[in-house]
């Protein structure tokens, strides 16, 4: 059975939409749809496990502590290490931004 991660996207303009795709012991795969959301400067995201993210569609900017902010375009991927504080500093407001996230928890 086939499903599509980019078709019939949910409206994320009022809040990011998280969709669990599959999970196995030690790993979870999810889709995140953003539209204009950013992480408040004083409230970084941080989690106790490694997270690999791949931008599938749209555009975003991300900053990980002790590193330069990076602009992300479709196909860009990076690993956010366990314990690393990070901020989404920009996501496109005029269209959906779709992320694939693999959580190694």
């Amino acid at each position: 059975m086939t499903a599509n991660l980019l078709a019939d996207l949910p409206d994320a303009s009022a809040g990011e939409v998280f969709t669990a795709l599959l999970s196995r012991p030690g790993v979870r795969v999810e889709r995140i749809v953003s539209q204009g959301q950013t992480t408040p400067k004083g409230e970084p995201m941080v989690q106790g496990w490694d997270e690999w993210v791949l931008l599938l569609e749209g555009g975003a900017r991300l900053r990980i502590e002790d590193a330069d902010e990076v602009a992300l375009r479709p196909g860009d991927h990076l690993l956010i290490g366990a314990g690393q504080r990070h901020w989404v500093t920009w996501t496109a407001k005029d269209r959906a931004t779709v992320w694939l996230a693999v959580h190694f928890d």
Copy 2:
């Protein structure tokens, strides 16, 4: 550090190109670039673990035993169960087809 899965693609016209992206206990993430390859009818692919695939770019057709052949376009994803015989029955010859594969091994 950011890398891009869709930029500077290797030439896969002479053979599929497999690139390991990361691995953790029980899970491996890889990119596969195809260009025109198919699976011989009498030599199905089969592996002893679940594999989740997501088509990122290009086009392909896939058949899993006991199911109809499906056409895949970017964003399409599906789970190939451990032990399921499957065949890539078509990949575009005129451009690269890029897959993300997550192996739960």
